[in-house]
């Protein structure tokens, strides 16, 4: 049984290619993946790690490190625009990010310590679970939150944003904040363990559990990834699981500008910063 469950990378036939073949193939594949991710409404990480882990000869340790960096870079690129449009709320994000980032360290350490076949099996099960969540999870554009919980009232987690589709200002508040923090701790652990951005889980928790409007949930989820992934990336970098030859050919997917006309509220395009690196959004 162990033979069957052996590392997938070891089953790839050894064919000698020039060193640049696989990185270029990864570059092309990542652009395609970024396009599909937009249509599917998922972040790149949940598609990047399993597909690259299967199709490319890189060990899953390096693929996960690259996946985390891809998600981190995309979140960092998108966050300024979302913050300036008040679609990200720091008061909502920071307590959740603290829980997620703390446990993502544990997840990253455990993921790198466990045998590869265990991580692969767990990753497969998780991806199937992600499919179920995305198929079954409902969305609520404007959840009804009658009474904020004590913690959110104390931390003053509430705000307003301008909803272009309605031409009106939407005020919002949240509830079940402690439950949300527990769920984000679990999500952070999974993100560090599998090298995923975990946006697929962040949005339902923000929207359906905590009660934030859908746009706020999506935007704050993207921002939260920039914090939670940083801890996991640091662990992977310290262990040497970040190879420039694998990380850097990956096209950086920039997520910006929640536009309701483009489902699912995200605009996504591959982007390289060469040329105009310092234009402030």
């Amino acid at each position: 049984m162990y033979t069957v469950l052996a590392d997938v990378s070891s089953t790839i036939p050894s064919v000698t290619f020039a060193w640049w073949i696989w990185p270029v193939a990864l570059l092309v594949f990542s652009f395609l993946l970024g396009t599909i991710a937009v249509v599917a409404g998922v972040g790149g990480g949940v598609l990047f790690v399993p597909f690259v882990g299967i199709l490319f000869p890189f060990h899953l340790d390096f693929v996960r490190g690259a996946g985390l960096l891809v998600a981190l870079t995309g979140a960092l690129a998108a966050s300024p625009g979302l913050l300036n449009r008040n679609l990200v709320n720091l008061r909502l994000a920071l307590p959740m990010a603290l829980a997620a980032s703390t446990f993502s360290i544990l997840g990253a350490l455990m993921g790198l310590a466990l045998p590869t076949y265990i991580v692969q099996i767990a990753l497969g099960i998780t991806i199937l679970f992600v499919m179920v969540v995305m198929a079954a999870a409902k969305r609520s554009d404007f959840p009804e939150v009658k009474n904020p919980d004590h913690l959110s009232s104390t931390l003053r987690i509430h705000s307003a944003y301008y909803e272009e589709s309605l031409g009106e200002t939407i005020k919002w508040q949240v509830h079940r904040t402690p439950l949300g923090m527990v769920l984000f701790a679990i999500i952070g652990f999974m993100g560090g363990f599998f090298g995923l951005g975990a946006g697929w889980a962040n949005v339902p928790v923000f929207n359906l559990v905590v009660g934030a409007p859908l746009k706020i949930s999506v935007a704050t989820s993207i921002f939260l990834i920039s914090i939670a992934n940083t801890t996991a990336v640091s662990v992977y970098m310290n262990e040497g699981a970040v190879l420039p030859l694998i990380v850097e050919p990956v096209g950086k997917v920039q997520v910006e500008n929640l536009e309701e006309k483009r489902p699912p509220y995200l605009t996504c395009k591959p982007r390289f910063r060469i040329g105009r690196p310092f234009r402030y959004p």
């Binding site: 790839i12 290619f17 060193w19 696989w22 000869p57 060990h59 340790d61 960096l69 981190l72 960092l76 690129a77 966050s79 300024p80 913050l83 300036n84 008040n86 990200v88 709320n89 720091l90 008061r91 920071l94 307590p95 980032s101 703390t102 360290i105 350490l109 790198l112 310590a113 590869t116 009658k146 009474n147 009232s153 931390l155 509430h158 705000s159 307003a160 301008y162 009106e168 200002t169 939407i170 005020k171 920039s226 940083t230 801890t231 990336v233 640091s234 662990v235 970098m237 310290n238 262990e239 040497g240 699981a241 970040v242 190879l243 420039p244 030859l245 850097e248 910063r273 690196p277 402030y280």
Partner: protein, 162 residues
């Protein structure tokens, strides 16, 4: 945080009531984010731009061979199928902060760019602490400082495998 800039017309937040109704009778085309959000956004943008620029430059120098590398780029495919522990042991590639001694090499320079990207978040968080302190927002000062401590602990290499 919240709206400490221009108030939203028709919106009176009253915490003791803990309930309020959505007042959508008026519209505001632009809701200015709080000062700390604006500063966070500005710092994040510049850190990300700097990090990506260094990463791209470093990678070009690394891939083109203009700079030497710790592990010749042509030999990397021989090892990228290994577990990271085996990879580090076999190639003697730097772990932890030892990559700093390889900044004169292409792969070390590439990692520098990735390090800048990874350090963007703690820098952004520290940049908003003075604003939070001036607003006497003690809960979020504590949250931000704990978050920075978690990020620094993760980056320090104190928590390692084996």
């Amino acid at each position: 945080m919240g709206h400490r800039g221009d108030p939203v017309p028709g919106w009176d937040w009253d915490p003791p009531q803990r309930t309020w109704s959505l007042d959508v009778s008026r519209s505001v085309r632009e809701i200015k984010p709080a000062e700390d959000q604006q500063r966070y956004a500005r710092v994040a943008h510049y850190m990300e731009s700097i990090g990506v620029t260094i990463t791209v430059v470093g990678f070009v120098l690394y891939a083109s061979g203009l700079l030497s590398s710790s592990l010749p780029i042509q030999e990397v495919p021989n090892y990228w199928a290994m577990r990271v522990a085996d990879f580090v042991r076999t190639t003697n590639m730097p772990r932890g902060w030892r990559w700093l001694s390889h900044l004169h090499q292409g792969d070390g320079l590439s990692v520098l760019g990735l390090f800048v990207l990874a350090s963007a978040t703690p820098v952004c968080l520290l940049s908003i602490v003075p604003i939070l302190v001036s607003e006497r927002d003690l809960p979020y000062v504590i949250i931000v400082l704990i978050q920075v401590a978690v990020l620094v602990t993760a980056a320090s290499g104190i928590l390692r495998i084996g």
